[in-house]
């Protein structure tokens, strides 16, 4: 081992090499033989490192650099959309809670005001006490004859600040929504067209990435978001779920109950096709939408009337009321996935 071609002993360059080797071995796993030279021995023999400990120190340094650079490359277009859509859900959850609080709180001072949500927040933020409502405002009459208590200055300031924050959450929500709409159009144009921007983004978020969504069979796409129902079905005699979050697409939401399962299947099939096209080509393919519309129309025409329910028909649709119909045997229904 006298003549060795040694690499530059620069950890940064070695880390790049490590990442390159890792990538190339993924494409060509056969190129890595089972019997390999012992790297530690080789490094010592060639004089690349002098001591055993030097090898450990260098290897550790190189691997940490390699892992860090790989991590920094994971911020992809779809991961950004996923963060955005999850932030949207967080905002929704919180803004509802805060709006309810404002409704209760402000209701003490102006109970006749029939506003909720954003409208209420904007109203409180604009006027504060009902005594500030201008005469030409539609609420001015109710404001002057209200049975509400008098709002002290300190409380009014507090309520206004509180309402301002809620308003800014609503603004942020809109901002994020726009962001998702625009980026979905460029990152996943087909998915955006077939499923819609927000549903497409949610599907990516639940799958983990666009790549994973593209790899899912369409039967999985059909029931993403219905894991409780799915596992209940697999464990006991409960009916299989017909749709998960794709229910939020108007195609299914607005359809009569007897068509929903069939439409969900067709929609899911095209959604996975769209996700695959997006992941592997990235070009918008209008033929997917055309084929989907044709298929949907066909289903609607072939099933114009509800089928007759059998006496012991299984529950249809969401069936919240019938949740306990299944056997009581399941020790643990749900909670796991």
């Amino acid at each position: 081992m006298e003549d060795c071609d040694l690499f530059d002993k620069d950890p940064e360059k070695l880390a790049e090499l490590v990442v390159q080797l890792q990538e190339s071995s993924k494409e060509n796993p056969q190129s890595v033989p089972l019997q390999r030279a012992d790297l530690r021995d080789a490094a010592l023999e060639c004089g690349f490192v002098e001591l055993d400990e030097d090898y450990d120190i260098l290897l550790r340094d190189v691997c940490i650099r390699a892992a860090k650079s790989q991590i920094s490359q994971t911020d992809t277009d779809d991961s950004r959309i996923i963060q955005a859509v999850e932030a949207l859900d967080d905002i929704d959850k919180n803004v509802n809670e805060l709006s309810e609080r404002l409704f209760e709180w402000y209701g003490r001072y102006f109970p006749e005001l029939e506003m909720t949500g954003e409208e209420l927040a904007r109203f409180v933020s604009a006027y504060g006490s009902r005594t500030n409502v201008p005469e030409d405002h539609e609420m001015s009459e109710k404001a002057s004859s209200s049975m509400g208590a008098e709002l002290l200055f300190a409380d009014e300031e507090l309520l206004r600040t509180f309402a301002n924050n809620i308003c800014s959450l609503y603004d942020t929500r809109r901002y994020i929504e726009n962001y998702i709409n625009t980026s979905m159009g460029s990152v996943a144009p087909n998915l955006c067209e077939i499923a819609g921007a927000s549903l497409g983004a949610r599907l990516m978020s639940m799958a983990g990435s666009l790549e994973k969504l593209a790899a899912f069979p369409s039967s999985t796409v059909q029931v993403i978001g219905a894991s409780r129902a799915l596992f209940k079905h697999l464990r006991s005699r409960a009916p299989s779920p017909k749709h998960g979050i794709i229910f939020n697409n108007p195609v299914i939401k607005n359809a009569p109950w007897w068509q929903r399962g069939k439409l969900a299947r067709a929609l899911a099939a095209k959604i996975s096709l769209a996700a695959r096209t997006d992941f592997y080509s990235g070009e918008l393919d209008p033929s997917i939408k055309e084929a989907l519309d044709k298929k949907l129309e066909h289903i609607r025409q072939a099933n114009p009337n509800p089928p007759e329910r059998k006496p012991e028909a299984k529950p249809q649709g969401k069936g919240g009321k019938r949740r306990n119909r299944g056997r009581k045997k399941n020790k643990k229904s749900g909670g796991s996935n």
Binding site: L21, S25, P29, V32, D56, R60, C63, A67, S336
Partner: protein
């Protein structure tokens, strides 16, 4: 306070009549994931919670733990490094190659690696040992805790590449990630059968116990690669 060494580098402390699993803290003063630090006779110990660590549970289940202070360990499924930190404590003169697939959890693991000199982080898929064959050397012990349906296969293929001839494989099998519906007992039996004769290398299973009550539906297992001596 009595301190008893259960296995190399693994201690049981008696604190107010309560037994506590711990390892010697390699970086005194530093708590990795909020665990308790206890000093006794000028040595600092880190509490090791068996319900957060399959390896910790295996210790309390009286497994013969093959880790020595100078072992080379390949750890598959390192996650954010809760257990890896204790392995790092045990291997005072050894090295642990920590393989983790998720960039998100690797972010936490890297913080740990920055503090400890004997952890080599590898962001890779344990299904593809070829992709880290240029980093990892032959290991005395492979510890695997991955929630994948093909756990046995992953163990076999990694052992083929990286396990020393007389090295040990430590495995935590999670039945839920193989089949959510089937009975765990059945799954465990099948996985053990696979390890014993399902692949082109065979294992001799030395010990196997369920990790109740620390982990539900998990089987702990220690095996040795079967070596044909006649050749």
């Amino acid at each position: 306070m009595p301190v008893r060494e259960l296995s190399s580098g693994i201690y049981e402390l008696d604190i107010d009549d309560r037994k506590m699993l711990a390892t010697r803290n390699m970086i005194p003063g530093m708590s990795v994931y909020g665990e308790r630090l206890i000093t006794e006779d000028d040595t600092e110990y880190r509490q090791w919670d068996p319900s957060r660590s399959k390896l910790g549970a295996m210790v309390l289940k009286n497994f013969d733990i093959p880790l020595k202070s100078d072992s080379i360990v390949l750890y598959l499924g390192a996650a954010s490094g809760t257990t890896v930190s204790h392995v790092s404590d045990i291997l005072t003169d050894g090295l642990v190659y920590a393989v983790e697939f998720s960039p998100r959890t690797m972010r936490d693991l890297i913080q740990l690696c920055d503090q400890r000199p004997n952890i080599i982080p590898i962001l890779a898929d344990a299904n593809k040992p070829q992709s880290y064959a240029h980093i990892v050397e032959k290991a005395d012990v492979i510890f695997q805790d991955v929630a994948q349906p093909n756990q046995a296969e992953i163990a076999a293929i990694n052992s083929k590449y990286f396990l020393e001839e007389h090295g040990h494989l430590m495995l935590s099998i999670k039945s839920r990630s193989i089949d959510t519906v089937a009975s765990p007992k059945k799954i465990f039996k099948e996985e053990v059968r696979k390890l014993e004769s399902g692949f082109d290398i065979e294992f001799e299973v030395l010990e196997r116990k369920e990790l109740e009550p620390f982990h539900e539906d998990h089987l702990g297992l220690v095996a040795k690669m079967f070596v044909d001596d006649e050749e």
